[in-house]
């Protein structure tokens, strides 16, 4: 991780005596560590080598700034060079749309996420660009691929080309363009079958489709979890197809995303979007800063803040806040709190994103704090009836047994959830008397708006200082059992799960 790299570089520079500028020897030693870090982040070897050379040229002779350690300075240079290589800090160009019907063609390996991404692009073009979109599946190979695209089209509320069995991909492409022309569509997206870059027949087929359809965009869809093969695949597809851009899928995974750098470096193509999540709206405009931070394992504060904003369901949060102000907190509210933790990638995810929270994360990884339980707690609550969730007093022994069976857990676990809820409800009741003001204060002082980067950092450090999640204070004697007997101190205060974020106003 970033911290580890900085530390290692610190070691390299311990012997640095000469003041003034970074010498070639210093830089070389440092870059050996950087090389390993990049390889471990799945940046492809040829790209690593090329990249290291560039950085070396920049770093040698650089004045050592007094305020920072030389190691940090090298990391900064590497970080900036990463952003530069990835396409710079500005947003990539939007999709090129030519005179209607404009064709977008999707290409890539098997299972890289083309079909899902096709659906996502359709939704974006429809919603953001107000385009009339037609989807056509040219995948005659994978079973039910066409049905999959048809379902996604329905989800995005766009049309899909009727499925006709027995047509070749080229025939389907022609039919799609005809249909787009006569149907008055602005954009037609051609989803193609996955293919390996060494399948000659299939690569020829792809080239033929591109020739016939003359797309304004040919997008290579690649998995951001790809390893060293990223270079080979990108190069080979680029050789055979006039690609115009890259989309990286599964960027919501915990991969380091080195493939982004590899593919960008060998093709020079812009990375246009990141696929994040399986839902149809899970598409983000590519942001070089975010990926650069990830490749270096740097605490991705930007991503954390974005995610927090994204996930805080404002309406629901406000409703809950109003309820809590009256001192009410039912099991639905608890469930919502728990879900917010999850939506943010779980505790592990949140901790990983906070700089300086590594130690706390380690505690989590070592099972000191068990986050699996959260999901089970949600399952328990969702196995209750609506009435039971609103009036927990109804929960007698036989109901508890039923709930346990429904959720696939022991009755004792149901009891724990109920107990936890009760203690939280009690707390809310007491806060209710103090009004919302008191509650906000308890939540770590994030009154208006999102927490600033500094605040987040401070929170991360607080969590770190508090070690492996010590038990909560008097406010919450039970705490969340899943959290080692406490909420997450320092990460949003009294309520578990950073619930505090939900109460801020979206800026």
């Amino acid at each position: 991780m970033f911290d580890a790299l900085t530390e290692k570089l610190g070691g390299v520079f311990d012997n640095l005596t000469g003041r003034g500028a970074l010498s070639e020897k210093d830089v070389e030693a440092a870059l050996r560590e950087v090389r390993v870090a990049l390889l471990e982040a799945d940046v492809a070897l040829p790209v690593v080598k090329q990249f290291i050379n560039t950085v070396k040229e920049e770093a040698v002779g650089e004045k050592v700034i007094r305020a920072v350690k030389p190691g940090q300075q090298v990391v900064k240079i590497v970080h900036d060079a990463l952003i530069e290589t990835l396409g710079g800090a500005q947003e990539p160009e939007d999709l090129k749309i030519s005179s209607p019907p404009s064709v977008i063609m999707m290409a890539g390996l098997q299972g890289s996420g083309k079909t899902t991404t096709t659906g996502k692009l359709a939704l974006r073009l429809k919603k953001k660009d107000r385009k009339k979109v037609l989807l056509a599946s040219l995948d005659t190979r994978r079973p039910a691929a066409m049905e999959q695209l048809a379902i996604l089209a329905t989800q995005a509320e766009v049309e899909s080309l009727p499925i006709v069995q027995g047509q070749s991909p080229v025939e389907i492409a022609k039919r799609a363009m005809q249909a787009a022309k006569f149907g008055g569509f602005d954009v037609v997206i051609l989803d193609t079958a996955g293919r390996t870059s060494i399948d000659e027949e299939m690569m020829v087929e792809a080239a033929n489709i591109a020739k016939i359809a003359n797309p304004s965009e040919i997008l290579l869809v690649a998995d951001s979890l790809t390893g060293q093969d990223a270079v080979e695949t990108a190069k080979r597809f680029h050789e055979r197809l006039p690609l115009t851009g890259i989309i990286l899928t599964r960027a919501d995974g915990d991969g380091r995303g080195g493939a982004a750098l590899s593919m960008r470096a060998v093709t020079g193509l812009p990375i246009k979007f990141l696929g994040i999540g399986e839902k149809i709206d899970g598409l983000d405009v590519f942001d070089a800063r975010r990926i650069a931070g990830r490749i270096l394992g740097q605490g991705d504060v930007v991503a954390l803040v974005e995610k927090a904003v994204e996930n805080a369901d404002m309406a629901a949060a406000e409703k809950m806040a109003a309820k809590m102000a009256k001192g009410k907190f039912d099991l639905d509210d608890l469930s919502m709190q728990l879900r917010q933790i999850q939506n943010m990638g779980g505790l592990g995810g949140i901790m990983g994103m906070l700089p300086g929270a590594q130690a706390a994360k380690k505690a989590l990884d070592n099972g000191v704090v068990n986050e699996k339980i959260i999901t089970r707690q949600i399952a328990v609550i969702s196995s209750m009836t609506k009435k039971e969730r609103q009036k927990p007093d109804l929960l007698n022994a036989s109901r508890r047994r039923r709930i346990a069976t429904g959720a696939g857990v022991d009755v004792s676990e149901v009891n724990k959830v109920i107990k936890m809820h009760r203690s939280m409800a009690d707390m809310v009741k007491s806060i209710g008397k103090g009004g919302m003001k008191g509650l906000m204060q308890k939540m770590g002082g994030m009154k208006g708006g999102m927490p600033s980067e500094e605040q987040l950092k401070a929170l991360g450090e607080k969590a770190l200082q508090s070690g492996a999640m010590p038990p909560m204070g008097q406010n919450m004697p039970q705490g969340l059992p899943g959290l080692g007997g406490g909420g997450l101190p320092g990460l949003g205060g009294g309520l578990p799960g950073l619930g505090g974020f939900g109460f801020g106003k979206k800026k």
Binding site: D42, Q110, A145, T196, D229, Q342, G408
Partner: protein
């Protein structure tokens, strides 16, 4: 070749095969169950159906792996034409190994071992390459397994397939199903990927090809519930093996990992020993993230073995070395294409040879 797929004991199955009523499905939720009317006399009238002879499959493996590792092999030739394993050559060797995705640590280990073995100054590249293959084969040999994965006594043997999205789970199940059927097993498939659009339909096509029943429900149905019902059915119909397909999930999505745990908990209510195997399906293109995948799926899914798909492309799958070293899991199969025949038992020696291009 497919020794594992052989049915070991020709038990009183004949009995079961005779009575095969087309079953009425009680649960209205189950939308599709396909029953083979009889033992498949011929492949159903399906244009997509593939031949089931595994002759060319063997070729596929070698072709696939050879193609994929051509660069490593070439690289080795060019390093070692110097015929001397000096510092520089070793560094280049390490880099070539890294290209296979085995990770820096493993590459260093192998390089160190090569250095330790100290070659004659005049050693030919082939000798060095053979030595390298030997080291890799030795590292992987313990994880090549001759254990019959469905030898257990309880019926049905329940095998669950897990992994990230698009890694090749459904396709692998399709291939395995056909092989099992060809070897006389009486099997059932469960389409517990109720999430991805048309995922059930995909498995249904494979079920149809192999002429085996598939338990599926409407999209969005509870996956654990489906698995539970499938096992109930498989038991009632005295199936030998139940293969359960699951939705792809990224290992850092705790909610989805918990769903996986729930599927297992629910299955265990019927059979404490089930699932008897849980296989993690990995895409050969995956990089170092496979380690994190394995860790999480072992934790939540109790993974007992690995399958690597897509070794017919340019990716080399070197991460298997790091994975086995760390988690000591057997590797059961490799996938070398999309056809039903494109499945091979994992063979350490062949994999190693192909990796260094012998």
């Amino acid at each position: 070749m497919f020794g594992w797929f052989k049915k070991k004991k020709p038990i009183e199955d004949t009995q079961n095969n005779e009575e095969k009523p087309v079953e009425v499905v009680e649960s209205s939720e189950i939308i599709s169950i396909e029953q083979p009317e009889t033992i498949p006399a011929e492949t159903p009238n399906e244009p997509l159906a593939e031949p089931t002879i595994s002759e060319e499959a063997k070729k596929g493996l070698f072709e696939g792996l050879k193609r994929s590792s051509a660069r490593i092999g070439d690289g080795i030739t060019s390093i070692f034409t110097k015929a001397k394993l000096d510092e520089e050559a070793l560094e280049e060797l390490e880099e070539l190994l890294i290209l296979s995705d085995m990770g820096v640590e493993t590459a260093r280990k192998i390089t160190a071992e090569m250095a330790r073995r100290r070659f004659e100054k005049s050693a030919a590249p082939e000798v060095i390459r053979a030595e390298l293959a030997e080291i890799i084969a030795q590292m992987l040999a313990p994880y090549e397994t001759s254990k019959d994965p469905w030898a257990g006594n309880t019926r049905p043997q329940v095998i669950m397939f897990v992994g990230v999205n698009g890694s090749g789970k459904t396709t692998t199940i399709g291939k395995i199903a056909q092989n099992l059927v060809d070897n006389g097993h009486n099997i059932m498939l469960a389409a517990a990927d109720t999430f991805r659009a048309a995922a059930s339909e995909q498995l249904l096509v494979w079920g149809k090809r192999a002429n085996v029943p598939v338990i599926a429900k409407e999209s969005g149905a509870d996956a654990a519930g489906l698995a539970f019902e499938a096992l109930q059915k498989a038991k009632a119909e005295d199936k030998d093996i139940l293969l359960i397909d699951t939705a792809g999930r990224l290992q850092n999505k705790l909610e989805l990992m918990a769903e996986l745990e729930k599927i297992i908990r629910v299955i265990k209510k019927q059979d404490e020993s089930a699932p008897h195997e849980t296989w993690l399906v990995l895409d050969a293109t995956v990089g170092q993230n496979a380690i994190s995948q394995a860790e999480a799926f072992i934790k939540s899914g109790g993974v007992t073995g690995i399958i690597m798909s897509k070794l017919d492309g340019t990716a080399k799958g070197g991460i298997l070395l790091a994975l086995t070293e760390k988690y000591k899991l057997p590797i059961y199969f490799i996938g070398v294409g999309e056809k039903v025949t494109d499945l091979q038992p994992f063979n350490a020696r062949e994999f190693a040879n192909a990796l260094v291009n012998i």
